[in-house]
Structures are given as C-alpha cells and as structure tokens.
Amino acid sequence: MNISLVLQMAVEAEPERIGLVCEGRRWSYLALMQAARAAAADISSSGCSHVALLDESSEAAAIALFGAALAGVAYVPLNYRLADPDLASLLSRIAPAYIVGDAQRIERLSPDLGHRTRERSAFLVHATTSESLASADEPAEGIAVQLFTSGTTAAPKAALLRHANLLSYILGTVEFGAAAEQEAVLVSVPPYHIAGIAALLSSIYAMRRIVLLPAFDPDDWLRLAATEHATHAFLVPTMLGRVITRVDAGASADLSAMRAVAYGGGRMPTELIERALELFPKTDFTNAYGLTETSSTIALLGPEEHRAARSSSDPQARARLGSVGRPLPTVQVEIRDEEGRPLPAGERGEIYVRGDQVSGEYRERSALDAAGWFPTRDAGWLDAQGYLFLAGRTDDVIVRGGENISPGEIEDVLLAHPAIAEAAAVAVPSAEWGEAVGVAVVIRPGSAAPEEEQLRALVRSRLRSSRVPERIAFLDALPYNEMGKLLRREIRALFKG
C-alpha cells in the first residue's frame, strides 16, 4: 500500500478535473500527478532521508506529499512558526532532508547537515518542467508521514504514520469519487497538522476540489468561500470563533454554497457551536475527534446528531452537543482506569483506541500495547449510547491529596460567571496536598474584575471544596498555540515563577 494510490485513482477516473486551487492557480489531477512524479525523481536523486516542507499551505504541500510517497521517503511538514532554536532542533532530527520552503532560514539554522533546499517557486518550476520518476515499479511501503507533535506538555515527539495507516483511514471513511464536480472544500489548516494531511488525502479520494488558503485569516476565509463557492470546510474551533466574530461584526459573508462544515482539533465551547448552528441553519456541522497518532478522525458527531441534540428536551441528549460523537465503525474505543482496566459507561478514564488507521508509533518507540491498543493520554468517558465525551489531557489532571480533578469541570463553572471570558485550571505545587488548583482567568472587555473570594464562592457553590482554587491569576490573555491549543505548561510555569 502507498498513499500515492489516492491521486493515481483520481487521475485514472478524471485526469482533467480540477483537483486543487491555490491563489488562482488551478491544478488538474493529472497535472498534480505529473508534478509529483517529477518531484519524486528529484527527491530520489538527492539521496535524502526525509522530505520536509517549511512553508505556508500551497500546492507545493500536495506535490511534496505525493512526491515523497512515490519516492518512498517520509514526508515531514514543519511548523514554520516555531522559534529558531526549536526549529533548529527538529532540522537536526531529520538530516539530511530535501526541504521545500524557506531556504535562507534553513541555511542559517542548520548549515552543515547536508540538507537540500528548494524554494517553493523553484520546486514548482522544476516539478512542472522536468523528467518524472519512471512509474513501472510499485512505490515503497513503510513510513509515509512523520509529524512532530505540538509538544504542549513536553519536547515534540516524532509520530510516524505508515502508508497502511493513512490508506486504511481514507478507504475506511471516504467513498471514492463521491463529490459532484461543483463541490469544493476550503482548507485553511496548516500543512504541518494532521488535519492538513488528511484534508489533502480525503478530498482527492472523494474528488472534491481543494481550495487552499495559505494561512488562516477570517476575512480571507470568508472572501475565498464566496468567490470559490466553497461547499465544504474544516475549521478548528478558534477559527470558527473568529469567522463568527467577523460575521457578527457585519463582515460580508456569502456562505450560501457552504453545505458542510467539519470542526475539530480542540475543545468547542457550547455557546460557539450553538451560535454557529443559529447563524448557518442550512449548513451541516460535523465534529471530528482524532489525534496525529490515529491518522486523524476516530470519532464523529454528525449533522443529524447536532440537530437532534439541539432540539431535544432531554438533558442527556442535549449534552451530546458537547460530545465528539461515536467512534468510527472501523475503530474500537475503550475507557480505562490507571491500571489499564476497562471502565463501564459513565466513568471517566483514559481513552484507548485500536484500529488499522492507528499508528501509535514514534521514531523512538511504539506506544501500542501488546493487543494493539493506543493510550491517547486524553481523558474522557462514554455515555450509555456510546457517545464519547472528552475531559482534557490525562497529563493535565490535578491530583490533590490523591483526588483526581479534571481542569474542565472548574473551567466550566468559572466561565458561567458573566465577567469571565476565558479560564484555565492547572496544578500548582502545594506543601499540604502535593498539588492544588490554580486558575488563570481573563476578564471580558468592559467588565470589572470580580473579587478572588467571589470566584472561590462560585466554585464552592457548584463543586466539591477540593476544587476551590488556592491561587487565582488575572491575565490579559491565555497562551495558545496557533491551532488554538491552550499551552497549560506556560500557565503552570507562571504559578511556579
């Protein structure tokens, strides 16, 4: 198995159909394949061990992904927003690499490691004018993609996704050629995120035209959605929030073609999804939950489930709007306790997942257990109908005197206060309890900051006394990475400092 099959089949079915649009440049499936074959020849002759991308999203990402696959070399898209020392460290872990993107920066940060650099424009010119790799042989199997995890809790890990993992995911979740010719998906997630890889593979297999936004901006997103008549989109909750803020502020928004929006990659605040359902009543919303190590989505809350949850008067059914839906038919999910024993419905523990799409493998070691289960480090529970609810990272659990406290329950209570815009609960060192609760809050613009005692009383009125924060910090903003993931280690550091 090799992921180049995805593009090969689209070429086989309709070579001249436009498969990708970026800044007005339109690529047919055949043109993409020819470019990928030319890139593969260049990659093969470079002798490099990895193919990297250090760039915003563009057609070069698709060509490098498939070119690397055809050449049988792992593709490693890098986060160009990383600080120099962090990026230099990643560059040293993939040397010698064939790198598309910011050649000057690579030369400056990683001069002596034998990297071959290609500026995007030169890479594209070469790919559209050169000899291509002979296509007689079946391309290699093995590792297709290596992604460095965002490292919100520790140093980035090199997660490995094999061709078999990614292809199992695509074949198990997407119907080939299912998209009508006018369908177009607006892709605005960065190329170095698993959602960016999955978007390329899924959309090409469905033969849904990809419209790439090089870097997310809510006004650019709205403009491109209108001019390209986008019918589908994927957004992380932060992006959806920024789009809605612009729409509420009166930005022009022709989303009449937008039939389906999928979201994932972070916690979706209930008010935000309710506002989105209200603003765009004709759009189907799907919540997708997945991890890098699982080749993207493992659970889905579909459009009908969104509507059913929203219109239900049963509180348990309504709560499902805050769930990530049910596991895909092709994966198994279990909740386990700290000793690895399966827990019944309703009990909170660590989410384990198993299936062909699940890699669970890092450059250094595999995290799968003997029976193939991957411990996600995400905490959660299943309800009686099998809906999966997330409860933060297990690493974020606050252990106060032996009692496990999930930050989410405290944050939800604080967010109910009208003056609190954002809240984060973390463990703070405590001589008495080992750990205690510290919270960082951001006050809504125009609101007066509540007294600390008032916030403690609010938590005490709703939760057990162990949840009452020992320390409270008022911040101007919480630290997030560019995907909207809260950087809890920075908040913990703040309380230590």
Binding site: M9, L171, E175, A195, L201, F234, A262, D284, T286, A288
Partner: protein
C-alpha cells in the same frame, strides 16, 4: 492474497487491491485468473463475465470474507470460482476533513 497486494486482469485494464483476502481464494476477471504481472498478450474475455468493473467500488463475495477495491476499471467482471462478486453498499460518513 494479503491485504494491500494488487492483482491485474489478464483480459482487460481492471486492477484491484486486496482489502480483505483469504489464503486460498483465487480471483477471476472476465473469466480468467487475475495475476500479479499483466500478460504481454491479453486473453479473450468470457462474455458471461463482461459487465465491467467500476473504479473505487468495493467487491465482496457472498459471505463477505473477501473484499477487493477496484483501483482501475475494465471491461471484465470479477468472480471467485465462477461466482460473480457483488458491489458492497457504501455507508457514507459525513466528511470530517
């Protein structure tokens, strides 16, 4: 037939990838055994197995033990021991990427 392996028709352009295979299952296309390397000269197609294959469709046997993905379409149709394979019903999931 192990998952991931590819088979080619001896009578037409059809190619399939094995999704689920049995150790001893032997797949035919257009009335002739499928092979790993397409022969230099094509064999004649059996008119009883000439309904064609469709790219992207999954083909299964009656008890669902064998599953093949058509990765290239052709004029022949697929069978195991003379029994035609059927197209598997797709259960579409909402798009999530």
């Amino acid at each position: 037939m192990k998952p991931g392996s590819k088979l080619k028709s001896a009578v037409c352009d059809t190619e399939v990838m094995v999704i689920r295979g049995g150790a001893d299952a032997v797949v035919e296309c257009g009335g002739s055994l499928m092979v790993e390397q397409a022969p230099a000269e094509r064999r004649p197609i059996d008119p009883a197995f000439a309904q064609g294959t469709r790219i992207g469709k999954r083909y299964v046997d009656a008890d669902g033990k064998i599953e093949l993905l058509c990765v290239k379409a052709g004029q022949g149709s697929l069978a195991i021991a003379g029994v035609a394979l059927q197209i598997k019903d797709a259960k579409p999931l909402p798009s999530s990427d």
